[in-house]
């Protein structure tokens, strides 16, 4: 039971944005996607979410080709947090979060929905904004609203532990626009979803140390191809990252921690 891309190819006007990409997202793990701008990270996430249909290869969710599954069934087992979403009409924040319950509207109850929404609002730290109009929020606040919306979708039905299908959470640059405290909070939530609920979490990140700190595995993309894939400590090597990002990156020892800190530096790596 995985979310799996097999030899996926995606092109726009003959230009390959993804070329022979194969990745597997397992339940209970946090997988980080890393790569320079234009590497195809967001495209990969959109293909995994079923938003873009691949020109070659296939994507399966819980063993079934997602091209053959109704959007509703996909939505009951997979939530996506987008980079930015605008709404033309002044919905209240709580109502926007409630939209995350839409895939379960036929089987859920008002009571369950309300409890989950309040819980997600607290987790995403938007309690003080819950009665505000969504369009009036700042970029970072909107991100947190969408985190809460993705969470209530992901939680599905609380008693549904017998379900055979694994759940997946896809986050597209979730930390963009968030202050440092909320960044750590979001990553901790993602980590906890993976550990406590056996959710497969995929997130596109730019901060190397957040990747090292929160991800179990890393996929590195460059120009639409997978250039490295594996456990975090094996992939997050300064030489590999310096090569992929074409910018010198070095590791320095953290006096208080076990893990090295990766820093970008224009200074020569060695004198």
């Amino acid at each position: 039971m995985t979310l799996c891309a097999q030899n996926v190819r995606f092109e726009v006007r003959g230009r390959a944005l993804l070329d022979d990409v194969s990745i597997t997202l397992h339940p209970g793990e946090v997988l980080a996607v890393l790569g320079p701008n234009g590497a195809g990270k967001s495209t990969l996430l959109k293909v995994l979410a079923g938003e873009l249909a691949p020109a070659g290869g296939r994507v399966t969710q819980n063993g079934v080709d997602i091209g053959h599954v109704p959007a509703l069934v996909l939505a009951q087992n997979r939530a996506v947090m987008p980079q930015a979403a605008a709404m033309a009409f002044p919905f209240i924040v709580r109502d926007v979060v409630m939209l995350g319950r839409a895939p379960f509207r036929k089987i859920s109850s008002r009571h369950i929905d309300r409890d989950l929404v309040e819980k997600a609002i607290l987790l995403a730290d938007i309690g003080h904004l819950a009665d505000h109009a969504y369009p009036a929020l700042s970029g970072g606040e909107k991100q947190r609203v969408h985190l809460a919306r993705a969470l209530v979708q992901l939680w599905g039905m609380p008693n549904n532990t017998t379900s055979q299908s694994a759940r997946f959470l896809l986050l597209d640059e979730p930390t963009a626009g968030l202050d440092i405290g909320h960044q750590q909070g979001l990553l901790a939530i993602a980590r906890r979803e993976a550990e406590d609920h056996k959710t497969g979490v995929l997130m596109i990140l730019h901060d190397f140390n957040q990747v090292s700190g929160y991800a179990d595995r890393v996929v590195v993309l460059r120009q639409g191809k997978v250039v490295a894939q594996g456990p975090t400590d094996q992939v997050m090597r300064p030489d590999l990252l310096s090569d992929v990002f074409e910018s010198p990156i070095r590791a320095i020892a953290d006096p208080d921690g076990a893990r090295d800190i990766l820093v970008s530096s224009n200074a020569p790596v060695s004198r």
Binding site: Q76, A85, A88, P90, I92, P103, R110, R114, A133
Partner: protein
């Protein structure tokens, strides 16, 4: 319970909204869950009451004034609550002139209100309206073409079609416009809502030019009936209206079920899909249904502008943007607006009658401007 106000700032609108909330809070019907259901029910009940009031008032006014008591007595008699009706003259005026007219106003107003709400959500654009994507104008173009050239197009069959020829042509015009918009805005299996809106604007311009050409070709007798399609009228076409009215009722009933899908759509097409909505199917069904009901509305009454724009906005000012409430409330609000506009049209230039499209235009145009100004101010903040 705390007071929830959506936007900070003063102004009479905010004041009015605050008062509404205050009353709702006092009645303990604001809030979530059960409370929200009550609020929805209460809003709809209030609108229904206003609609009934508007109907009674509208039945009374016109060339022959009929008192409210007389009107109510007659209505009671019609549904079997009162023994013995009102005087013969009043009964005849009410039964054969005003009641059918007002029933048409209710159905068409509700149709335009719902169609406007659906369009605004579908295009995620607060200024969308069935008129704007050219469906209304194309329907009118079809009707006008049939009036002017019907005997040429259909030849000897023209007489056989009788009164059905023109409504069917209006219908075909609306359908053709929708088809063209959909085909042109499709790309790689997707339709872009913004492109679709712009294509609709272009189609609208072409259809209006078409109406102009047929007007130029028309003779004096035809010109009189052309005015009807361009400026709108609720006088109707007798039994030829029945199929169109049935289409409107059925179409509106279907569109009213789209509350949650349209809410999801407002998040964006990708997000709606992530939440399990078959986006392309929704767009297809909603645009085709809207074209059907708008075509039917134009077939009965000609072009009546601004109701589709006004009704949903008025509703959102009080009830918020949730389409589960906005859809049914816009149906009622559209009906109220059209019944009211019809009453104005009948009394303002007695003994003549103003085309109803002029009344909605005169009232709707300034409202539209006000809406734009408000939007402009909000963007600047």
């Amino acid at each position: 319970m705390t007071l929830r106000i959506r936007q900070p700032g003063g102004g009479p609108l905010n004041w009015a909204r605050e008062q509404v909330y205050r009353v709702l809070c006092a009645l303990h019907i604001r809030g979530h869950g059960q409370g929200a259901v009550n609020r929805k029910a209460l809003s709809l009940l209030a609108l229904l009451t206003i609609l009934l009031l508007a109907v009674v008032i509208s039945l009374g006014v016109g060339g022959a004034e009929i008192g409210a008591v007389k009107v109510l007595w007659h209505l009671a008699y019609k549904i079997g609550l009162a023994a013995g009706g009102v005087d013969d003259f009043s009964a005849r005026v009410l039964d054969s002139l005003r009641l059918p007219r007002i029933l048409r106003a209710i159905v068409i107003g509700a149709t335009l209100g719902v169609a406007g709400t659906v369009m605004q959500s579908l295009f995620r654009n607060p200024i969308a309206d069935p008129g704007i994507i050219g469906v209304s104008a194309s329907a009118a173009c079809g009707a006008v073409a049939m009036i002017v050239c019907g005997h040429i197009i259909l030849g000897s069959h023209y007489v056989a079609f009788g009164p059905y020829g023109v409504p069917v042509a209006a219908f075909l015009g609306a359908g053709l416009a929708t088809f063209v918009i959909r085909v042109l805005s499709r790309q790689d299996g997707h339709t872009d809502a913004a492109i679709m809106l712009l294509i609709g604007v272009a189609i609208n311009a072409i259809a209006i030019a078409g109406v102009g050409i047929f007007t130029y070709l028309a003779d004096d007798a035809q010109l009189r009936s052309l005015t009807f399609w361009q400026m709108g009228a609720l006088s109707g076409n007798g039994p030829a209206d029945v199929p169109a009215l049935v289409v409107m009722a059925a179409g509106v009933a279907y569109l009213l079920t789209l509350g949650t899908p349209l809410n999801l759509f407002l998040l964006g097409e990708a997000e709606a899909r992530h939440l399990g909505l078959e986006v392309e199917a929704l767009k297809r069904r909603a645009t085709i249904m809207t074209a059907l009901v708008v075509g039917a509305a134009v077939a009965v009454s000609g072009i009546i502008g601004f109701v589709g724009l006004l009704a949903p906005h008025l509703v959102r000012l009080v009830c918020g943007p949730d389409n589960k409430i906005v859809l049914p409330a816009s149906a009622l609000c559209g009906a109220i607006l059209l019944v009211g506009a019809d009453a104005v049209a009948r009394v303002i230039v007695l003994p003549a009658e103003l085309p109803i499209g002029l009344v909605t235009g005169i009232l709707g145009g300034p409202f539209f401007l006000g809406l734009l100004m408000r939007e402009k101010k909000r963007r600047r903040i």
